[in-house]
Amino acid sequence: MLAYIVRRLLYAIPILIGVNLLTFALFFVVNTPDDMARMQLGVKRVTPEAIEKWKAERGYDKPLLYNGAADGAEKVTSTIFFEKSVKLFVFDFGRADDGRDIGHEIRTRMGPSLAIAVPTFVLGLFVTVSFALLLAFFRATYLDFWGVVVCVAMMSVSSLFYIIGGQYLVSKVWHLVPISGYAGGPDAMRFLLLPVLISVVAGIGSSTRWYRTIFLEEIGKDYVRTARAKGLSEPTVLFRHVLKNAMIPILTGVVVVIPLLFMGSLLVESFFGVPGLGSYTIDAINAQDFAVVRSMVFIGSLLYIVGLLLTDLSYTLVDPRVRLQ
């Protein structure tokens, strides 16, 4: 088990290197720092001196991969690749274009992101699994049919509509909670209620349908017939047998997103003005702050790999047949 985890973690290293090389290629080779400087400074006021100054301020004035002018180890370390990409591995993210320390920003913004993402995740999972079980229990009835119809309709609505419509109805018409904003401490509840609720509702359609499919697939199997033949009641069959066995396919989709909860939700955070990592990313995209985008790409990939590992480990918990070697 331990050997497996270690091996998986070692396997993550080439993937992270790949991610790093890809982002490096995207940000520095396809478009040179000169292009970035020109875009940041605006096309009109651009002079060679201004570009040089912009690059020097941000440390983009070094060679890309190999610095022939430096001596010793600096030949490799005093380059853009080393300064901007390799340092990500030790979580040294450098500074954003506005001069703030990215690492510090990420640490302070993690809290609000988690405050929205974790309740959304837990509540969403609970609600959708319950609905799906309900539909599976009443399968092949009118309730099931119309439930699926509602699910398909709900998953056809744009997530933007849920957010804009929810904000309009709950905050503007009914004046129940503030439209947007965030505050720490116990006050946060008022601000978090609506975004969490909207995110949960927006996810109901597709998840419920997906879980219902999984449950129905399990119900069609032989062990369920055996359980019924033993004389077990339908609820017992559903909760004790089907739910437990359906955990494996459900976990595949669910566990992998748990680490990514740190990244927050781009849309919800930006609409509700929550100072989390999601809105940080959107702001960086809009301000074309490449240093921040690069850091977020790195963190996101790292968390995804952790999620994959957690998925494998969770299999051993729910399915004793799985042995990790």
Binding site: V30, S158, F161, G220
Partner: protein, 477 residues
Amino acid sequence: MMPVVLWTDALVFLLIACAAGAGFYVGRREYLLASWRRVGESRAGMAALTVLLAFVAVGLLDSLHYRPRLDVAAGKPGGGYSTEVRSALDALLLPLKAATEKTYSAPLATHLYAKETVELPDGSQARLFPRLKHGGAHLQDAEAKWGRDVALRVLRGLALAVLCGLTFAALAAQLAARHWGIGRLAAWRRIRRGETRIAWNAVLATLAVLLLIAGPVASLAGGYHVFGTDKVGQDVLYLTLKSIRTGLVIGTITTLAMLPFAVALGIAAGYLGGWVDDVIQYIYTTLNSIPGVLLIAAAVLMVQVAIDTHPDWFATGAQRADARLLALCLILGVTSWTGLCRLLRAETLKLRELEYVQAAQAFGASAIRVMGRHILPNVMHIVLIAVVMDFSGLVLAEAVLSYIGIGVDPSTISFGTMINTARLELAREPVVWWSLLAAFVFMFVLVLAANLFADAVRDAFDPRLAGRRAALREKTA
């Protein structure tokens, strides 16, 4: 006029050609037709297909681009064409496109949304709602005649729709009667009761609903802004119709772009195994591990920098916007091929061990031949299901990406840009709801139709659903 073929136009027509080719291929093979017949039997599927085809028709009209000849420059040698690229749809909707107002106006309104200070004929000034330049401009006395005029136009539109619908029904009955060799009335009764193999009654009913909506809208659009106007006074109906093409292009070209990679790499990884498998798995794990939105953001920013620094690449603004649309499709393709690739790899691993593949190997067929002739046809149902299932997700994704600012070019009309420009309108007083609602409703209908059609296709093609069907049958029995 000078025809212009944008990159996405070319790909759209390539796609149509591919679809036609595939249709021809399938039509001559009974075992493939059987699955498609099952799609045809599904009422929801056929109704959804009808709606989708209506959208596709609008999208295709909007894909025939040209540059109109300028009257002024007609005498000049060389050039003489407008830099504005128009489409056949623009030409059809020219009255709508040209009928711009000053700013917001509500659906079917005759007056502007906001009060303005205007000079009255007697020289004094007053703050009132000015009349629209185009909406209801044909009415002398707008307050008194408006209701009557609107009702009249709706009735006229409905009458036209009923006429069209009856023609269609008669045509269908005629064709069916000839096909079965029975009377027209008997044939119509069969269609109506759903006693046909293909659910023609669902198609005709959907067509009727579409006509009943389109008729009055078209009739009203002649004199009013049916869905109102947006902030700069553009007709919202025109904008929504133009958005359809962008949504369809994103939904289809993306899949077209990623399909060759996903299929080739997935099958190769599964069949060849060894280091090829390792490398391909490494590639898709790496791509997958980058959060999709961020990869798209990074790539779109890069494309934007490239486009901005090379203004000389494009002759017109439309071509520049089109390049960005195409880039977005390709980038979305890069982020979305991994799922299909993994599915195909897993399926190929299974197929590789089957007798018919081993027989082919024993006959000395090369790896390429086994993959192309024996494995590919047997995983096509997975590819098809993935393609139709991806479509709706991509249409929805476009809106979100455009909202974040990494979607289509701001000058491209799309559902995303419409929502993005209208995002603060609900905060106005009184509320401006029409352009948001129009965008959302059109998008909803498109995505819903796509989802229903995808379900019908999946139900018809996926052999794994047998277990689920058994579960449902057991309960009903």
